[in-house]
């Protein structure tokens, strides 16, 4: 699977910086598992972090404090043998069991381990969702859109980051299939329509309530309650 729609540079930078919300992080990490292109860019965003770390202007730390920490480190070196990580590093990724019922690892803390354990709730005709309880302001939801069904036209007050897990959808921005990310700006208005055949399942992180502009969509909003 080679994704064709990727994380935005702004998302990758914030992911590398450890500055995305946990919900956005979960979706971005799910995309990164499948996307060598974004992993390469992530590496370079992380090297920006390394360069910044290196270039910090140090203030003079109290010498005795540094000496104490240094001594503490030296005494730990003897106690800690190197970990035998050679096997870990060379272990082929193919060795991972690929149970088709397993949800991607980054989503498991929110949705549980398995597809079969998801508790879908009817939200609107052709639309089922699983909500999660998140402590922060961001929301994380799983959506299942029946084949050929359209979502209401919507735009966003904040950002929406979606990863397509199964099936596919089309909107004005293109064709989004399993493995693709839709990393949308606040000013994007779109109406995804699920492709025919199988339901389209996505996981989406939202950092502000959606706004529905049209009369039909306004009628639908109470139903969808996103």
């Amino acid at each position: 699977m080679t994704p064709r729609h990727h994380l935005s540079e702004a998302t990758l930078v914030s992911y590398a910086a450890g500055a995305l919300s946990p919900e956005m992080t979960a979706v971005a990490a799910t995309h990164l598992l499948d996307c060598a292109h974004c992993r390469r860019l992530l590496t370079s965003a992380e090297s920006v972090g390394g360069a910044l770390l290196e270039r910090q202007q140090l203030l003079h730390a109290p010498a005795d404090r540094h000496a104490r920490l240094r001594q503490d480190m030296l005494s730990q070196l003897d106690r800690l043998p190197p970990q035998d990580t050679a096997a870990e590093i060379t272990a082929p990724p193919a060795g991972k069991p690929s149970d088709p019922d397993r949800l991607p690892l980054p989503l498991q803390p929110y949705f549980g381990p398995n597809w079969s354990g998801l508790r879908w709730k009817w939200a609107a005709p052709g639309l089922h969702i699983v909500r999660t309880a998140t402590p922060g302001p961001d929301k994380l939801i799983m959506l299942k859109v029946a084949p050929g069904r359209a979502m209401p036209v919507h735009s966003h007050q904040g950002s929406e980051l979606t990863q397509i897990l199964r099936g596919a959808y089309d909107d004005a921005l293109g064709h989004f299939a399993s493995g693709d990310a839709a990393d949308l700006d606040h000013d994007t208005r779109h109406q995804p329509v699920a492709a025919s055949g199988v339901p389209c399942v996505c996981v989406a992180a939202l950092d502000a309530p959606l706004s529905f502009p049209g009369w039909l969509a306004r009628k639908l909003q109470p139903l969808v309650q996103l």
Partner: protein, 190 residues
């Protein structure tokens, strides 16, 4: 500890020290790395909002990991500062969110990662690292600001937008342009 820019060691210096750590378990070499990086990691963690004591503790843990997992560090895949940044970031996030998933995701992505893309520690690669540093100096004021707020304060796009009184889309495009600017040349590696 006075570190002047003129004497700032480059990537090959750290790679040589790491080679003796990996091959001979050389404490001397390791402590030279420690003396340089531990205060920087500590400062980074303090900037993220950790109290002094916790920043010290996590910085020690970060450097200890380097000692224990020295064999995992491959200079061809990135600068030592990047490796340390990644470990410190992950330890901080783990502590903050109590979500051990993060670290394992990272490791898994690394494992599944692009081993085929590995290039040797060529002069070009070292030049790239130096180039990145000078590109950071040439960021515009606002780009430098959003980059610092992201990396050193771990602020989300919305938080930056709120703090700077900027539309969210503007924050994202500043971050995007800053990244594209920093990346020029780096991305051209095969």
């Amino acid at each position: 500890m006075s570190i002047t820019k003129a004497r700032a060691p480059d990537g090959s210096h750290w790679a040589e020290l790491m080679a003796s750590v990996t091959q001979q378990r050389d404490r001397e070499s390791f402590m030279r790395i420690y003396d340089h990086f531990a205060p920087r990691v500590r400062l980074y963690l303090k900037g993220l909002g950790l109290p002094e004591g916790q920043a010290e503790e996590l910085a020690q843990e970060t450097l200890l990991r380097l000692w224990q997992r020295a064999a995992q560090y491959d200079p061809a895949r990135g600068a030592l500062s990047t490796w340390l940044f990644r470990v410190a970031r992950n330890l901080h996030i783990d502590r903050k969110r109590r979500e051990p998933q993060w670290a394992s995701i990272e490791e898994e992505a690394d494992l599944a990662g692009d081993l085929e893309d590995t290039v040797s520690l060529s002069p070009e690669r070292l030049a790239e690292q130096a180039q990145l540093a000078s590109r950071i100096d040439r960021l515009s004021t606002v780009q430098a600001r959003v980059i610092r707020m992201s990396y050193f304060e771990a602020k989300t796009h919305s938080e930056i937008a709120h703090e700077l009184g900027m539309p969210l889309g503007t924050v994202k495009s500043h971050l995007r342009r800053a990244f594209l600017h920093l990346q020029q040349g780096v991305q051209e590696a095969p």
